[in-house]
């Protein structure tokens, strides 16, 4: 478990970090908490020549109220997201999901931005960010640009963040008063999700007015369960089962040791119903 030797750079500003990235070229790799990267390095699955640590860039850390949205800095540790009253009030489904990320030690080291850019389809944070219609802010040599979460994830471990670019923050439209639940299905307490369902709903008199459902590990990227969402509008807790059964429509889930694609599709329906009902109850 000894990584190949590498240069270590720890810039203190975004500008310096972009400079370091440019200097490192193809052989540079950003570390943003290291909870996924360090095992990769130690098992020699990757051997970058330069590792650029964003941990000392204070401006990338923290959660603030942006008016109609929240702004979460990319280097905000999961534990801070979990403890945030702003997140709990305005983006409750993210709060629910981040509570299931690994264990307290990892939640204090790992960061929201690190997890988002790593883009492991079994990671828990893509689905709630999709459900919340978040926007990703990316900076690069050409300046800043924004990408909606729906266009951010390209493939397994691949996102809109290009070479020489950094994710700096995530903007989340406030979903104040929306019910929320994250159903994470694993076969051991601390494990990647076999699948996960992030549901957030707006209800009126026990009836769903609007429903947003993001799915974890139902394809090479997190996806929205659009068919189920549309079908859920107007339904109540006791008649939403059939709509939720459509959660897997259009998905392409993987098959692995923990479950084949058919089983995942079945779980998506069952767990979407549970998540939606829990969100309505909450």
């Amino acid at each position: 478990m000894i990584p190949v030797a590498f240069e270590y750079v720890a810039p203190t500003s975004v500008a310096d970090a972009l400079g370091a990235l440019a200097a490192a070229g193809d052989d540079g790799k950003v570390i943003a908490g290291g909870q996924s990267l360090l095992p990769v390095l130690r098992m020699r699955l990757n051997a970058p020549e330069t590792v650029i640590d964003l941990g000392r860039i204070e401006s990338l850390r923290g959660i603030r109220d942006g008016g109609d949205h929240l702004v979460i800095g990319a280097m905000t540790p999961h534990a801070e997201v979990l403890a945030s009253d702003l997140v709990r009030e305005h983006a409750a489904v993210l709060h629910e999901a981040v509570a299931t990320v690994a264990d307290p030690q990892i939640r204090h080291r790992g960061t929201l931005g690190g997890a988002v850019v790593h883009a492991d389809p079994a990671g828990d944070l893509g689905a709630p960010l999709l459900a919340l219609d978040a926007t990703m802010v990316i900076v690069g040599p050409g300046g800043e640009r924004t990408v909606p979460a729906t266009e951010f994830y390209h493939d397994i471990f691949a996102t809109a963040v290009g070479d020489g670019e950094l994710l700096t923050e995530v903007r989340i439209p406030k979903h104040t008063g929306w019910g929320a639940a994250y159903e994470k299905f694993t076969r051991a307490a601390q494990q990647w999700a076999i699948i996960g369902v992030a549901a957030t709903v707006r209800t009126q008199g026990g009836q769903i007015v609007e429903a947003k459902v993001g799915l974890t590990n139902m394809g090479s990227t997190p996806v929205r369960a659009r068919a189920a969402e549309a079908d859920l509008v107007g339904r109540h807790a006791d008649d939403c089962g059939q709509a939720c059964g459509r959660a897997a429509e259009g998905t392409n889930p993987p098959s692995d040791l923990n479950g084949d694609a058919d089983y995942r599709r079945h779980l998506a329906g069952v767990l979407t119903a549970r998540a939606v009902r829990a969100a309505m109850a909450g």
Binding site: M1, I2, V4, A5, M43, R44, F185, R187, A188, A189, Q190, Q191, W192, I194, L257, N258, G259, D260, Y263, H266, L267, V270, L271
Partner: protein
């Protein structure tokens, strides 16, 4: 039994915290990897990515030229001294046994085998250079599936001509211990019930906390090896037998060792390769593996198919059992790998007293990691099979799972009892353990809840699993091992040295690797010699200190090694008695020993054993003809195995919509005879349960079609953590063993052996009414859900 009730009970039975724990928990101790020697080099292994291949060439030039590299070795470079990883347990003279070279010269037989070794100035440099070794292979067809191996269509070792290692049978009719099982089955087909099942014992990977590590110092007159092993004494034998080094020139030290569970009961290629390289270079060398290397190269456990036929009368009285095993040895026979299934031969009949039995195991080689002992070794497999079958029989004849066992088990007043497999159980009380377990579990209330959930069609169903296990441990009577063609004895040795200043050194040949020997053995000696617990120092794990020993496995240390200790202590007392009498100016016959003091009967005159030790050391005033020594040595070879037993009850909830399982409660009442330290027993039981539950629900080694281990890290090979388990309810009944003075039985493997069937029985019980009668381990949510779906569609099909 003897002397259980009249011994002093000052220390024995006390829940002392373990004296070794501070250094083990903080890690500030002698782990092998902590050892640094002057001029020491570090090794990295180059391993085969292929399951089966011919090595066509190895180019080491680039690696040899890399920074900090001292040398690179292939198998051919060390062929003259590398030795062989031998098997100690060929089942018969006919067994086919492939030669297991630590570093193969021409052909690799499983992915992960070592093909070259880099020695460098640091572990990092060695690892960097290992990637520069260029090995060319010609891939050969690999046989990976056990049932395919049995066809010999593809050979794991073409030179053997077959994959079959050996076949071993125990037949009660042939042995004269029972009737003919085929007759019993034929009769039951006409007038009774026959249960036929095939169960899978999946392949498991031992997950000890400390990865294996070896340091070899070849400088000087003697070769010293520090290694993370359970078996320093056995290892020294293996090195002497195969490398050309005289046994007297080899010192093997197992310093503090971080767990083993059988996984370090081995002579490993890594140990032999490190030894060979150190000798070639004349410099100390260290090799410490990564977890990924543990998983491909350390031996695996279990891996059997069990074809079972149980026959009974219509009321559920068992009349016979036929067992046909297919056992996957992996690529090599390993130290005792072929014998592991045989250890189950006496356990399929378990606590039951049916009249006819036949056991056969057919052992096969495949191109996968070798298989050997893993916590329980043969007995968990057997216990799983019979306890699952008893639940199946109960369901078949419509009898409660407890009642079916009670109908068939050996009654307390029938001990000692010779079983249909020919083993004599000396003591046991299944009634008492079961009664207590039922009470703690709330059996009737849970059955009522189960009925209610079934009636209401609750999506979450409840199941209750029973396991009334026994096992044979305390390995082992040497003459029985000899009769089984095993290559060593089963005795254990202990020495006691009374030091001049009042402390006591205890030397045991049972090499601890986390069990708490230092504490438990101190308690025994403190009681026996009447000295303070803290005055006793237990030394172990060094062939030059505790020179004789058979090491630690098979729940033997306390049962066999503890008894050796008692005998050594008694010898010390008898050596001290004439000296004490002389000093007290009394006849030895008039001197009594109690609580550490010799007294003249009927007087106040006395002298402590520690004062006698000091007087013996000075030698100034000893009786004529008495040597100035208060040391003693004893070797104990047991007359029998020990037979702990217990009743384990598990309640599992099954979410029928997802297949997810959740443990609701787990109660176990174990009978392990006399308890020396209840805290250590609790630790053994809890850890054992976790490992058995791991097999039932979580663990399983998986290979892809190429023979690559796909569960090659602890991310993919799922071992349960504390967060996956619940608070176990544990209790004990006490029925002492009758052939030792302490009356202890083994506890190291009990939890693992008992819990796997209890859990799977509970999962199956939860969904049996849906038409499910088996779920392959590990019972993952997907497997549970699919079993329900399959049973449901089969039932629908049948209705149409």
């Amino acid at each position: 039994m003897t002397a259980v009730d009249d011994r002093p009970e000052v220390e024995i039975g006390q829940a002392r915290r373990r004296k070794e724990d501070h250094r083990l928990i903080t890690g500030r101790t002698r782990w092998t990897d902590n050892i640094q020697l002057p001029g020491m080099l570090h090794l990295a292994m180059v391993r085969s990515p292929f399951a089966h291949a011919t090595i066509t060439s190895i180019d080491t030039s680039e690696a040899a030229a890399a920074p900090g590299v001292i040398a690179v070795f292939t198998g051919k470079d060390i062929a003259d001294i590398q030795g062989v990883n031998i098997t100690a347990w060929p089942l018969s003279a006919n067994q086919k046994t492939p030669t297991h070279l630590p570093v193969p010269l021409e052909r690799v037989s499983h992915a992960g085998e070592i093909v070259a070794i880099v020695a460098a100035r640091s572990a990092a440099l060695a690892r960097d250079a290992a990637e520069l070794v260029d090995v060319d292979y010609d891939e050969l067809p690999a046989v990976l599936d056990l049932k395919e191996a049995a066809t010999d269509a593809v050979l794991a070792h073409p030179d053997l001509g077959t994959n079959k290692s050996d076949v071993w049978t125990l037949d009660s009719a042939a042995a004269g211990t029972g009737g003919d099982v085929d007759e019993a089955i034929a009769k039951a087909r006409e007038t009774g019930v026959v249960i036929e099942r095939e169960y899978r014992q999946q392949r498991l990977i031992p997950a000890f906390m400390e990865p294996r590590s070896t340091v070899v110092d070849p400088t000087g007159e003697q070769v010293v090896m520090w290694t993370a092993t359970q078996v320093p004494h056995v290892l020294r034998f293996c090195i002497a037998a195969t490398t050309g080094l005289p046994e007297s020139k080899i010192r093997v030290i197992a310093p503090d060792v971080g767990g083993g569970f059988g996984g370090k009961l081995q002579s490993t290629p890594e140990e032999f390769a490190t030894l060979a390289v150190a000798r070639k270079l004349g410099r100390p060398c260290k090799y410490t593996e990564t977890r990924s290397e543990t998983m491909v190269s350390g031996h695996h456990g279990r891996d059997q198919w069990q074809r079972l036929t149980l026959c009974a009368t219509k009321d559920g009285t068992v009349t016979g059992l036929k067992v046909d095993l297919l056992a996957d040895l992996g690529a090599y026979a390993a130290l005792v790998g072929g014998g592991v299934p045989v250890l189950g031969a006496w356990m399929f009949n378990a606590i039951y007293k049916f009249p006819a039995y036949r056991f056969t195991t057919s052992n096969y080689y495949t191109n996968k990691t070798w298989v050997d002992a893993y916590r329980g070794a043969g007995r968990p497999e057997a216990t799983y099979a019979i306890e699952r079958l008893m639940d199946e029989l109960a369901a078949e004849v419509g009898v409660d799972a407890i009642a079916i066992r009670e109908k068939n088990w050996i009654k307390h007043d029938e001990f000692p009892f010779t079983t249909v497999a020919g083993m004599t159980y000396d003591s046991g009380n299944y009634e008492a353990a079961t009664e207590r377990a039922l009470e703690l579990f709330g059996y009737d209330a849970l059955r009522a809840e189960q009925a209610q959930r079934r009636a209401s069609g609750d999506p979450v169903q409840l199941g209750i699993g029973v396991s009334t296990f026994t096992e044979m441990c305390g390995l082992a009577p040497s003459r029985i091992l000899g009769a089984l063609n095993y290559g060593a004895g089963g005795w254990e040795n202990a020495s006691i040295r009374m030091l001049s200043t009042g402390t006591v050194e205890v030397l045991t040949g049972a090499s601890a690797h986390g069990q708490g020997h230092e504490t438990a053995f101190s308690q025994i000696v403190a009681d026996r010699l009447g000295v303070p617990f803290d005055s006793v120092e237990v030394l172990h794990g060094d062939t030059q200190i505790s020179t004789k020993g058979m090491d630690t496995y098979g729940s033997r240390s306390l049962v066999v090694g503890g008894e050796a200790l008692v005998r050594a202590a008694d010898k010390v007392i008898e050596k001290a008695r004439p000296i004490a009498a002389h000093l007290l100016e009394a006849s030895a016959d008039d001197v009594e020993f109690s609580a550490g003091t010799f007294t003249v009967r009927g007087t106040e005159k006395g002298i402590s054993i520690t004062d006698v030790a000091l007087q013996t050391w000075t030698g100034h005033n000893l009786p004529d003809g008495v040597e100035p020594s208060l040391d003693a040595d004893a070797t104990f070879d047991p007359d029998n195995f020990s037979f702990p037993h217990g009743t384990h009850l598990c309640a599992m909830e099954v979410d029928t919509e997802t297949g997810a399982t959740r443990m609701r409660s787990y109660v176990c009442v174990d009978d392990i005879g006399t308890v020396i330290n209840p805290l250590i027993v609790e630790g053994q039981v809890h850890g054992g349960l976790a490992q058995g539950i791991g097999q039932a629900l979580f663990e399983g080694a998986e290979y892809d079609d190429q023979g690559t281990l796909t569960t090659g890290s602890l991310v993919d090979y799922t071992i349960p953590s504390a967060a996956d388990l619940i608070n176990f309810v544990t209790d004990r009944t006490t029925t002492p063993a009758t052939y030792t003075s302490l009356g202890t039985k083994g506890v190291g493997e009990a939890g693992t052996i008992a819990s796997t069937p209890a859990v799977v029985n509970a999962v199956v019980d939860a969904v049996r009414h849906l038409g499910v009668n088996d779920i392959v381990m590990p019972c993952t949510p997907e497997r549970v859900w699919k079993a329900i779906q399959h049973a449901g569609s089969a039932a629908n099909g049948g209705a149409q």
